[in-house]
Every structure is written in structure tokens, then in C-alpha cells.
């Protein structure tokens, strides 16, 4: 009944290979656990509760381009060569961002949150995981245009000190400016974006007055503590790299760092829904993941 011509044969590895496959996978898992433990004990950066798929991808990438055979070899290098650790640390921290990333988010801040912040005589804002600073300056521009910047203090933190240096410099590649200008306009910008930067060769430097109310500081969400009395906390696309357990710790940290009625802004694909602390927040702009701490903690 079956016509042989209708078959396609597939060349598939057989069961002895499956045993090898499992053996190798098991070793990789042990080696990755040990590597993260070594990093923690030696340098006190804790990646143990990060999403494993992400960590594995970044670590294996470094292993390949460093011509290493396996993660045990990498662990040795990590322990005895600080500069190699620093290279891997850069791989493990994601510093990809842009000015006015997700313009609709900034538009929502402008329309829905700014009117509420205007009630305060002084505003404290914490940008956690600010990377190279593009989004911090975006917020500074927005606050300036809304007439709030002079009474705002922005704390911009990251665990990656190299990214923080870049953020402090406020110098960015010129080839991104076209995208940033378009984002700025979609975000409800009221001026010409060119007013905020000076071009030099292949870079732009942002207007230095944007820096006036920003303090850049080294802070690790995994191991460091509360950063107090904030009216607004931004932490966008950081929680996606954490396990649920670590997400919970960080959301508690945010809750304790917010004033009653303070705002918490997460990334487009992040949510409080699965957190133990969800009950202490109400959703203000659902689509943009803007939440507000309920004034009464017995909620």
C-alpha cells in the first residue's frame, strides 16, 4: 500500500548518541552552575537567579570566541584573570538601549503621569538599570519640556561601571540620531530634537544642562538595598532577565523605595501580575506597564 517512492529518508543520530548527548548536557549544566558560583564567591556579582537560557547564550558566546574547550576552562580563567572576568561581565549585562525607546511609553508619561507629578514641590526619580544612559536623558528632556526638571533629582543606577561611565559622558554615535529624532517626535516632543545635542565628527554630545539633575551611581539590584523615598521608579527590560524569585525580591525593593502613591514603570513585556506584591500596586496605564503604589499598604 505504501509506495516506496513517497518516502524521504532522514539521517538521524541513534541511541548511543543520545547517551552521549545527555552526558554532555549534564556536564554543561554542572559547569555553568559552578562558573556562576565562582563569579559570586570571587567577585560578588550574583547571576545565579538570572534566566539560564540568556546567561548560557552569553557565556557560550564568550567561550567560543576565546577558543576555550569548555566552561571548566573558563572558570579557571575567571578566577585567575580579573580582566577576563570584566570582559564576561560586559557580556552578561545588556547595554542595548536607545533614546525614547518605546515612544508611546514616554507619551503616556507626558499625558498621564506628569500632571500628577506637578503637584509635588520636589520630585525624586530612580532609573534602575540605566545602562549607557540614553533613556535617562530622554526623561530629562521630557521633564525639562514639562517645566519640572529644575525641581527633580534623578538617580540613575547600574551595576555595570563601564556603562555608567558612558552614561556620564553623554556622548553617543551620530548614526542613531535619525532614529532618536523620530522616537522623540512620536513621544510627543515639543521642540526640535537638534536643540538637545551638538554633533562632532561621528558622535553627538548631549546638552550639558540635561546632566544637571542626574546622579549616576553604582547599584546592583540583586545584592544592594533600598534607594529611598522615590516618587517614580523606572526599571525597564531588566526584570525579564531574572527568575520569578529574583523578580519578587526586586519588586519588594521597589515597593519599599517608593513613596505612597509613587509610580513604578516596567518594560512593555514585564508585569507585576505574578509577584507576591501585586496587591500593593494599581495599574495606571496597562499597555505601558505604569503602576502606582497604593497609598495604604493594608490594601
Amino acid at each position: 500500500m505504501i509506495n516506496k517512492k513517497e518516502f524521504v529518508s532522514i539521517d538521524i543520530p541513534d541511541f548511543e548518541d543520545d547517551f552521549q548527548f545527555g552526558w554532555k548536557k549534564e556536564n554543561e549544566k554542572i559547569e555553568l552552575d559552578l562558573l556562576l558560583e565562582a563569579i559570586y564567591q570571587k567577585y560578588h556579582y550574583d547571576f545565579k537567579d538570572y534566566s539560564r537560557a540568556h546567561i548560557k547564550r552569553r557565556v557560550l558566546y564568550r567561550m567560543r570566541i576565546s577558543n576555550m574547550e569548555n566552561l571548566s576552562q573558563m572558570q579557571h580563567q575567571i578566577l585567575y584573570d580579573r580582566s577576563f572576568f570584566e570582559t564576561l561581565l560586559m557580556d552578561l549585562s545588556i547595554n542595548v538601549t536607545e533614546m525614547f525607546r518605546d515612544p508611546s511609553f514616554y507619551l503616556a508619561i507626558r499625558k498621564k503621569i506628569i500632571p500628577q507629578l506637578k503637584k509635588y514641590s520636589f520630585i525624586k526619580l530612580w532609573h534602575a538599570g540605566c545602562a549607557s544612559g540614553e533613556e535617562v536623558y530622554s526623561m530629562a528632556i521630557l521633564l525639562k519640556e514639562e517645566g519640572l526638571y529644575s525641581r527633580t533629582q534623578i538617580y540613575a543606577t547600574d551595576f555595570n561601571t563601564i556603562a555608567l561611565q558612558k552614561a556620564r559622558s553623554a556622548i553617543y554615535p551620530i548614526d542613531m540620531i535619525k532614529d532618536y529624532t523620530s522616537n522623540y517626535q512620536k513621544a510627543g516632543g515639543i521642540n526640535s530634537f537638534a536643540e538637545y545635542y551638538t554633533a562632532k565628527y561621528d558622535s553627538v554630545i548631549l546638552d550639558s544642562t540635561l546632566k544637571e539633575r542626574i546622579v549616576f551611581a553604582d547599584h546592583n539590584l540583586v545584592t544592594d538595598g533600598v534607594f529611598g523615598e522615590m516618587n517614580l521608579i523606572l526599571c525597564r527590560n531588566v526584570l525579564i532577565y531574572f527568575t520569578r524569585k529574583l523578580q519578587n525580591r526586586v519588586i519588594k525593593l521597589f515597593m519599599e523605595s517608593l513613596t505612597p502613591s509613587g509610580f513604578l514603570c516596567l518594560g512593555t513585556k514585564e508585569t507585576l501580575q505574578f509577584s507576591e506584591y501585586a496587591q500593593f500596586f494599581s495599574s495606571i496605564v496597562e499597555k505601558e506597564k505604569i503602576f502606582q503604589r497604593k497609598p495604604d499598604d493594608n490594601a
Binding site: N3, F7, I12, D18, K25, R57, I94, P103, K269, T271
Partner: protein, 212 residues
């Protein structure tokens, strides 16, 4: 449809995930494949389609409205389930964890793309090994080729849309040049192929002996 009537694996195998990479021309391709699947299709399907970072993912809502199977955008930490087609969110890479939950990442674009097909394929190959089916459909660049090669290396089954039958031939062509696929199929052969592969793992009586 001659190429798929008896597919042929040398041993029983339950597939746990179908990973599809698609770019330009994807709307037509997906609207052909997804609505042809039954509501309770047993293998979770993950579609990594190149879309604008500012897209509102209309494609997902549209596909859901015309299909029996449920189509939804990936949420972070969501568990892969049967009867569901998952689509990558605009501007995020998608990865899968050992416990079969999704992770998202905003790391740099790969092959000018975020989401990138390679990122998901490589991650899925690590987790699913030989219980993964990787599929490259119509598209203009070469994203997905490396990932498809990795899926094959880890023992998975790889399928490429026939470039002559693809709206845009670049991506299937690049894939075939990088790695020899187990199957090259036309668009309307794909849904029946998936159904066949799902049954293959379940009904042992259908198994065909090796070396036909």
C-alpha cells in the same frame, strides 16, 4: 504531496516543539499554515517573524481570529502548551528555558533582527535536542540559517519552504545553502506535514522500519 505521505523516522519520537522562522512574505505564509491546523494540535508552535519594533502585532490577532488553534504573543516565563501558536513580541528576542518556559531579551539585534530566528532556534535546539522541528519559510535575509544548522546538529528535524514556492526566496535559499534540510516542502504541504509528524510520535503502529 508525495514527499510527506510516509515520513520516516527510524524510531518513535514525540516532538515537543515546532520552531518557525519567517520574514518578508510571512503574512500570506502563516495565514496558509496556521488556520489549517486542528484546534488541539499537540505540539506547541513558536513563530519568530521579523516585524517592526513599533508594530502592534496585528498579525497575531488576525491569525488568532482566522484559526481554530489559539494564536498569542509570547509572555515572559510563560510555559509552552499544546494547542497554541506563540509569536515573538516586537523588539524582543525569544529564548526557551530547560523547564520549557519562555525568556525574553533586548540584547543587540542579530542579523539586523530583533526578534532573531537564530536566537530562538539555537536556544530551542539546546533544550529540545531531537524532539524539535525547525522550519524556515519565506524571507529576504539569512537569519535562521545558523540556528537551523544547530537544530540538525542536536538531532532535530529541519524543514525549509521550497524557495521556488516562496514569496521571497532569500531566507529559504540561504538556509539550504548552509545546511541540507530533511524536507523541502511547498507552502500547502506544511500543515499536513506537521499533523503527520504529531501522529508519528503517538501511534507506534504507523512506524516504518529503518532503511526503506
Amino acid at each position: 504531496m508525495g514527499t510527506i505521505t510516509g515520513a520516516l523516522l527510524s524510531k518513535p519520537r514525540v516532538f515537543r516543539c515546532i520552531a518557525i522562522g519567517v520574514s518578508a512574505g510571512g503574512m500570506h505564509a502563516l495565514s496558509t499554515i496556521i488556520p489549517a491546523l486542528p484546534k488541539d494540535f499537540p505540539i506547541p508552535i513558536v513563530v519568530i517573524q521579523h516585524i517592526s519594533p513599533l508594530s502592534d502585532n496585528y498579525t497575531t490577532r488576525y491569525l488568532d481570529s482566522i484559526s481554530r488553534i489559539h494564536v498569542k504573543e509570547v509572555d515572559e516565563k510563560e510555559r509552552l502548551r499544546r494547542g497554541t501558536v506563540y509569536t515573538a513580541p516586537p523588539n524582543y528576542h525569544v529564548l526557551v528555558e530547560e523547564d520549557e518556559t519562555f525568556s525574553l531579551s533586548v540584547e543587540e539585534r542579530i542579523n539586523f533582527a530583533r526578534p532573531s530566528v537564530d536566537v530562538f532556534f539555537e536556544s530551542a535546539a539546546e533544550v529540545y535536542g531531537d524532539s524539535l522541528i525547525g522550519v524556515i519559510l519565506t524571507g529576504a535575509n539569512s537569519d535562521g540559517s545558523k540556528g537551523l544548522k544547530k537544530i540538525k546538529e542536536e538531532g532535530g528535524v529541519i524543514v525549509v519552504q521550497d524557495p521556488q514556492n516562496a514569496e521571497v526566496e532569500g531566507m529559504p535559499k540561504a538556509a539550504i545553502e548552509t545546511v541540507t534540510p530533511h524536507f523541502v516542502l511547498k507552502l500547502d504541504e506544511l500543515a499536513p506535514f506537521f499533523v503527520k509528524m504529531a501522529k508519528h510520535g503517538r501511534k507506534k503502529t504507523e512506524l516504518i522500519p529503518e532503511n526503506i
